[in-house]
Symmetry: C2
Subunit: 329 residues, 2 copies
């Protein structure tokens, strides 16, 4: 298990880093274990993003905190139109954490970073006393490179654009609820947690995308509210077009959650000209993570979000005070 001494920067720390982290994450940038990794990027225009992960529980169907921490950062870079290149990982370990668990998380990180063609180029490890943490907290930060020219930005959203989501919503949050509530679905609801950069880079190659955002904390609803505000446009959502799995819908109904505000960890929202939608959908649906992609809304002049409900009604979408679930990421 992890001991306080493992975080003090002496021989114990070096051993932990070499035997556990370096073995799984090894790459030419990390290997020298210098204070900084040095890299030559293919472009001087970069995207830069950070996220702390405190998910509870640390493991869930479809992923674990390691996979989640890489997906979150990779997807934030992808949403900016950037190709992920370098990731950093800072671990706050709780005294008493089993080494085997930590190994699994690091393994997940290595695998997911590899899938996204990125590397974990630098890291840090601290240990806090038993009770002052919750197994492990991971902060991942990413650097991605951007091409020249226009990049996706909310201010490019235009009247007449359409809104597409890459797959069923609310799945990550539902997976976490199911495990917390001890629901035994068969098969269990799995998190959608996935690194989307390859799919997104391909999508950008075939269609001109005005804006992108990954609907994590705050869910699809939260992202749409923010994008409507940032662009000064009115969005009209057709609820019946929003993809959602039946088991997820049932769980939300059972516990009184609105799936529109429940986190995804492997979905992307695209806003783009109506004429580009078909080629985007064809491109997305080639990927396992994009099979459920669908056009869900239109952009109009105005300033609010309207949702046409399945029952034929119309309501304004307003943000909840908090999201319904703490510590889902």
């Amino acid at each position: 298990v992890i001991r306080i001494i493992d975080g003090e920067g002496g021989r114990a720390t070096s051993r932990l880093i070499k035997e556990l982290f370096l073995k799984r994450l090894s790459n030419p940038l990390l290997k020298p274990l210098n204070d900084s990794a040095v890299a030559e990027l293919t472009s001087s225009r970069i995207a830069f993003t950070t996220d702390a992960f405190v998910v509870d529980p640390l493991e869930f169907p479809g992923g674990d905190i390691g996979k989640l921490s890489v997906c979150g950062t990779v997807n934030d870079l992808a949403a900016a139109g950037a190709k992920p290149v370098l990731l950093s990982a800072a671990f706050i370990l709780e005294e008493g954490l089993e080494l085997e668990r930590l190994e699994r998380f690091v393994e997940s990180m290595a695998e997911t970073a590899g899938e996204a063609n990125s590397i974990i180029a630098c890291g840090d490890t601290k240990v806090v006393p038993h009770g002052k943490g919750d197994g492990v907290y991971i902060t991942t930060t990413g650097v991605g490179v951007l091409p020249g020219g226009d990049i996706p930005e909310p201010k490019r959203i235009a009247t007449g654009d359409a809104i597409v989501i890459s797959g069923p919503i609310a799945q990550h949050a539902a997976a976490i609820i199911a495990i917390r509530e001890n629901l035994r679905a068969d098969p269990p609801i799995a998190s959608d947690c996935a690194p989307l950069s390859n799919m997104v880079l391909d999508a950008m190659a075939v269609s001109e995308i005005h804006a992108m955002r990954d609907p994590t904390r705050g869910g699809l609803g939260g992202v749409l509210i923010e994008l409507a505000r940032q662009s000064g446009k009115r969005f009209v959502i057709r609820e019946s077009e929003i993809p959602i799995n039946e088991a997820v819908e049932n769980i939300c109904e059972l516990y009184g959650y609105d799936p529109l505000f429940m986190a995804c960890e492997g979905r992307m929202v695209f806003i783009l000209p109506e004429t580009e939608v078909d080629s985007l959908l064809v491109s997305l649906r080639k990927y396992p993570y994009g099979k459920g992609a669908n056009r869900i809304a239109t952009v109009e002049e105005g300033s609010e979000i309207i949702i046409e409900t399945k029952s034929g009604g119309v309501r304004r979408l307003v943000p909840p005070e908090g999201a319904p679930l703490p510590r889902i990421c």
Copy 2:
């Protein structure tokens, strides 16, 4: 105080970010609050580093966790020879943390980042339940730009080089011990915590530096042991030349700590040709953080670290199993 709802990604989170973080950290990159910051760097060759900060206590003479978290990252970039440009900050807040304290830490970060000519370009905030954290943990990650050509690297260390430290050692650790042990020195021992990038960039302009390292966790001794190993050289240290304040020395003696392995947070170790030492010392001593700079050792053929003690003896320097103090950074 911080509530669980402040970390859930709804309106409460937005308010916290806008009213507390954005007010103090405001800059054009952070302001749009997109998932990623987008920046055009002056060079595509970068240094990249991350550190998690879990210091206990959160405030101490000479600094607080906010200042420390920026210094640690800025100094790691400086040690790589890079000019700090972009920083990210991820906060893991404990439910119940007073907003006024958090404000002070964020203020310290803004001030210290400004002193280092860098900005906090992106961030994240999570909240963990009371008892699952320790007030606040901060992870800062930094991107710095590097010039073309040779950069400081351990493999450039050559026989005949000299080793310089930029000021008195062990001060950060001693300040933390003093506060933990309730020692009432007057004036209190202050941490040396400082952003060194301006001083280091000037030093690099006047002298050819083979290697640099900031002696944080593990202290001067830890850094020298690592550099000797990485370069395959023998270092001969003259203990009497190592700058140390008397109050710091007394505290170390009182509690049985070896100051050589005690953390600094505002010092840099330089290894450079003997002929360059004088110009380096002149340059360093112009800065308040470099007033106590001194030449402390020489590099020879061989493979161990020898210390010539004040009492005239000679001993081999070996790394301790852990550093003597948990959670000093």
